[in-house]
């Protein structure tokens, strides 16, 4: 199931004027944006968003002389949306990304990741270090223990994606793309006015929303979890990484709170710049897109000056 850019309403296209591009990755049809020239910057979203999350970040980075590539994860945005749960695996999503980067022949990539764009994007980076120049991490995690106390709670987290409850709440009622993001931004009126309907519109039917309840089920809650070993590997590889890294976090993020998560990334990657705190809850790009663009641009300018 693939939604085409031409189905987007004029009001959405006004905020998302970028030319649609499609690639066949790992057996799926992936939508992506590819704007500008220069060293590539890969902007990776998570659940339940799509490239639209970075709409305020793309322009300033293009203007700074970079090539900005924004893929929609398979299952989200304008990419193909598989309708079977078993079509989605953590490693499969990383392989999708690997396929796109190899097809585009990208090297010297800066990987900017948020939410599930973290585990997938960082797995890509750790398994393809010769293609990667730098990392930027925002409101994500990369270790096997439960990411937050929030994720161990029955209310609301585990109930939200529990068997049959997930397909009902997040499928029939699109609870995550609508109310879920709304609850996780700072300026809720602005979000409702400018973005909520766009996130909801690209997940129009129950079956298109599958990944919104599948991703939560991939978060390891104990040692027997199916993604435990991949996260353990990721943490181990990151600890060895010397890639220049920038950490940006939402000051008001109460799920992936900065004190726990940004600090842990800093421990894992002590050479990283930051954490830089900006206005934002989990979906910090909604509140601070331009500021985030500025932080990334400055970080990359400094790398350029150092010849990195």
């Amino acid at each position: 199931m693939t939604q085409d850019i031409f189905e987007l309403t004029p009001s959405i296209r006004e905020k998302w004027p970028f030319a649609p591009r499609y690639a066949r990755v790992n057996g799926w049809r992936m939508h992506y944006v590819d704007e500008g020239d220069g060293d590539p910057v890969l902007l990776l979203h998570g659940n339940p968003t799509w490239g639209f999350l970075y709409r305020d970040v793309i322009g300033p980075l293009v203007q700074s002389g970079r090539r900005i590539i924004v893929p929609d994860m398979i299952g989200f945005g304008l990419s193909e949306k598989p309708t079977r749960e078993h079509a989605h695996t953590l490693d499969g999503h990383t392989a999708n990304l690997v396929s796109l980067v190899r097809q585009l022949g990208l090297t010297r990539v800066t990987v900017v990741c948020h939410d599930w764009g973290g585990p997938t994007g960082l797995s890509f980076a750790m398994s393809n270090p010769d293609r990667v120049r730098a990392l930027v991490v925002m409101s994500t995690w990369a270790w096997p223990r439960p990411p937050a106390e929030f994720h161990t709670r029955v209310f609301p987290w585990r109930l939200m994606h529990a068997p049959l409850v997930g397909p009902y709440l997040l499928g029939r009622h699109n609870a995550l793309a609508g109310r879920g993001i709304y609850l996780s931004v700072v300026d809720r009126d602005k979000f409702r006015r400018e973005a909520q309907s766009t996130y909801e519109a690209v997940l129009p039917d129950t079956e298109t929303r599958l990944l919104t309840w599948v991703w939560p089920r991939w978060i390891p809650l104990d040692d027997s979890a199916r993604a435990f070993d991949r996260f353990a590997w990721l943490e181990q590889e990151l600890a060895k990484s010397r890639l220049p890294t920038l950490i940006i976090w939402g000051r008001e993020d109460e799920v992936f709170d900065a004190a726990t998560f940004a600090s842990r990334f800093k421990q894992l990657l002590p050479h990283a710049e930051g954490p830089h705190l900006v206005t934002g809850r989990h979906f910090l790009q909604e509140d601070s897109g331009y500021e985030i663009a500025g932080l990334i641009r400055s970080f990359l300018d400094r790398l350029d000056q150092r010849g990195g």
């Binding site: 109930l159 409850v165 397909p167 709440l169």
Partner: protein, 135 residues
């Protein structure tokens, strides 16, 4: 009380199964699978017949269990409303009944899963079928 009861297989003459909801991974939390196994005697019945429940609207729903190679049975479940063959089903009725079936399931699975938490989750996400909080 969720108003949902397990019932015997209805007479299906002149009826159809109207697809309502699917779960590909009923054992994501194994206690959910265990509950269905116990309620519908799935260790004995297996794939031979669906389970049936009656919802508050009076409609009967079929729970069709799905098997998957290499995974404990059942791996998934589909919920279908049993309706008159050529008649549509009212979406509001379906949605309210599904919420009742979810409530019945959560109550049956038991702690740490509670009806109170389910209702709070439904309220948080403004699900129309959830009853207003009693004062």
């Amino acid at each position: 009380m969720t108003g949902v009861t397990v019932v015997a297989a209805p007479n299906l003459s002149g009826k159809r199964f109207a697809f309502a909801l699917a779960e590909d991974r009923v054992g994501h939390y194994p206690e959910f699978r265990d509950y269905f196994v116990q309620v519908f005697e799935l260790d004995r019945i297996g794939l031979a017949a669906p389970g049936f429940v009656r919802a508050p609207s009076g409609l009967t729903y079929a729970l069709v269990f799905i098997g998957r190679s290499g995974a404990p049975f059942p791996s998934g479940v589909e919920i279908h409303a049993v309706v008159d063959a050529l008649e549509p089903i009212a979406d509001e009725v379906l949605d309210t009944d599904l919420w009742s079936i979810l409530s019945w399931m959560i109550e049956g699975v038991g702690p740490p899963w509670t009806l109170k938490d389910l209702e709070e989750t439904g309220r948080l996400y403004r699900i129309p079928a959830v009853r207003p909080r009693s004062s």
